[in-house]
């Protein structure tokens, strides 16, 4: 298989164009606000990569985006839309916190693996329900997973404020997990922790699963052409279910890493829509695993960089959210823009011929 196909080349051009235009728009907004875009973007870049700490923070933010991005990709490639990543993440995170509190007798050698498994199973099961409703009863999974998100967030909010509320402070959080469950910070004073190794492992696993195995072939076939895959003998329902459960499991594990790697406890608002951001990362690169890593890094760099940009230049950090949303709009409209461009070109050529 050729690595750089014509299709991919065209796509890379559209992607670069989308990013450049969006960044230019961001620059114009900075100018309107009386700020120099060069200074603004300079601060953004410096904030993302300017020192060891900044790079560490960027990498720490990349990990959950890549994880939830991959979770999105495997589901979408199989033709099932998992928008419930946020809910799966919350339940996985909560399960991880409970494990860290009640299984504190486990030695470190197995505690981490145990917590990853538990969070994965919880997230996977929570994804299983909308999955089975879709496959068996044809219930629209976009709607059910959206509803399931809020249910999970409210449910964990109830648990963390009532039966499992910590007694040592007034925050809405659980008790601190046992030290045998806490992952080491790799760079002190940053949130970068050893979960990044597990994330790397999961990325490699997912890459092979989606590209090199016959399962991956099935995932893609079902996603691209539900009908064709069915005639080809692939059981699309079963593949969708497997993909959905894997997707939910990865989101659950992402939540676990937030607990055992970053906060060491479950917090009521533990995820600032991480799964939504990850989903958008995946959509921008059309669910390509390598693309997800690159785009995850890009989005994470903008996130960490924007906070520094705000303190250094006074440009509100939310500007990058606007820029990211515009990138997504452009990419989502890519095919449409392309056909408009082709029509325009054809029109112009036909006018030339007439002359």
């Amino acid at each position: 298989m050729k690595l750089v196909t014509k299709e991919r080349k065209e796509y890379l051009i559209s992607l670069s164009l989308s990013i450049i235009i969006s960044l230019l728009m961001g620059g114009v907004i900075m100018l309107i606000n009386g700020k120099s875009p060069i200074v603004g973007y300079g601060a953004l870049l410096d904030g993302a990569f300017g020192s060891k700490f900044k790079i560490a923070n960027t990498l720490a933010k990349t990990a959950p985006l890549v994880m939830t991005g991959l979770a999105t990709a495997i589901a979408f490639n199989s033709g099932i839309s998992n928008i419930g990543g946020e809910g799966q993440l919350y339940l996985g995170a909560f399960a991880a916190a409970l494990s860290g509190i009640y299984l504190s007798f486990l030695p470190k050698s197995i505690s981490i693996i145990a917590v990853i498994l538990i969070a994965g199973i919880v997230g996977g099961l929570y994804a299983f329900i909308p999955g089975i409703l879709k496959v068996k009863f044809k219930v629209n999974e976009v709607v059910t997973t959206i509803m399931f998100n809020t249910i999970a967030i409210l449910f964990t909010s109830y648990l963390v404020n009532n039966p499992f509320a910590t007694s040592d402070s007034k925050m809405s959080g659980t008790d601190i997990i046992a030290s045998s469950f806490q992952l080491d910070k790799l760079v002190s004073l940053t949130t970068l922790n050893s979960s990044i190794y597990y994330v790397a492992l999961i990325v490699i696993l997912m890459y092979y699963l989606m590209n090199k195995t016959s399962n991956g072939y099935e995932f893609k076939m079902v996603g691209q052409n539900g009908l064709f895959a069915k005639y080809g003998g692939v059981k699309s329902g079963k593949t969708m279910m497997i993909a959905m459960v894997i997707s939910g499991a990865i989101c659950g594990i992402t939540g676990a890493f937030e607990v055992i790697g970053v906060h060491y406890r479950f917090l009521e608002k533990i995820s600032p829509e991480l799964a939504f951001d990850g989903m958008l990362v995946a959509l921008v690169v059309k669910n390509n695993p390598i693309g997800i890593v690159a785009m995850g890094l890009f989005f994470a760099a903008m996130k960490t960089g924007s906070i520094y940009m705000e303190t250094a230049t006074g440009i509100p950090s939310e500007l990058v959210k606007v820029i990211q949303a515009v990138i997504i709009l452009f990419i989502a409209g890519e095919n449409g823009f392309k056909s408009i461009y082709i029509n325009w070109k054809l029109n112009r050529e036909s006018i030339k011929e007439e002359n």
Binding site: L133, L319, V322, G336
Partner: protein
Amino acid sequence: MFKDIFNLALLQHTIRTATPLILAAMGGLLTQEAGILNIGLEGMILLGAFFGVVGSFFFGTSAMGVGFAVLSGIIIGLIFAFFVIDLKSDEFVIGIAINMFAGGLTVFLLRSIFGVKGAFSSPKIIALPRINIPILDKIPILNTLLNNHTIFVYVSWILVVLIYIYLYKTAQGRWLRASGEYPEALETAGISPRKMKYIASIMCGILCGLAGAHLSLGYLKLFTEQMSANRGFIAMAAIIFGGGNPIRTALAALLFGFFDALGIRLQAVGIPSQITQMIPYGATVVALVVMTKRKINQTRVKREQINE
């Protein structure tokens, strides 16, 4: 304690909280009928809430606030329509992008226009007028329940009826529904489904803008970050619950508004509100399963009849 929770004020509060849900749900219903699942309601409401405050603050009248909210609705509705209809983008990707865009833009503008973080309130923000119906003054219960609400409460009820008439009793309404279900047939009849979908999207933007204006100008006179607080998704739930019918959708929105109002009151007496807040979402999943099953059964019966 029971009397502290279940009283007339609860129902009055329900009517208040249900209003933005009804407005947004009517908007989402129109796009739904035109065959577009719009999950960008949340962002559209948020934009309306913000620009309502902008208009009201700078021009000193609530009418300009509403005008700005409507304008933001028209623009975001056009953007949504352009991407979904003309560029044929995935509708829910655009919906999510709109939510993200609105969340980022409103906070960004909050800080660059008003220079504040989190929330903005000012005596210069003029609230929506309240309507006093003189006849109701003399009827004790109905007076507390139905009188002296902001104008949008009554507007939303009238709109429900108007949208029902529009969808089911007018030619354009029938075309709009056909543009979702039988676009090819509509095309053959010489009516552009594209145009109908555009109309639905823009009306949806306007209605969500009004919902937002009710949030920020109705009772509180302020804008806070993420003020829409999931109302777009509850509105979506109401649409699904209502099965495409405006009246039933509005009733579902009222019911969900009731659970919201109840949750706040329960919290005040120390009972966790999350459980009552979960009810709309759980109920919607159940309703969706039941309705999908019924639909599948109906098509099966139809097919069997044809085969016979």
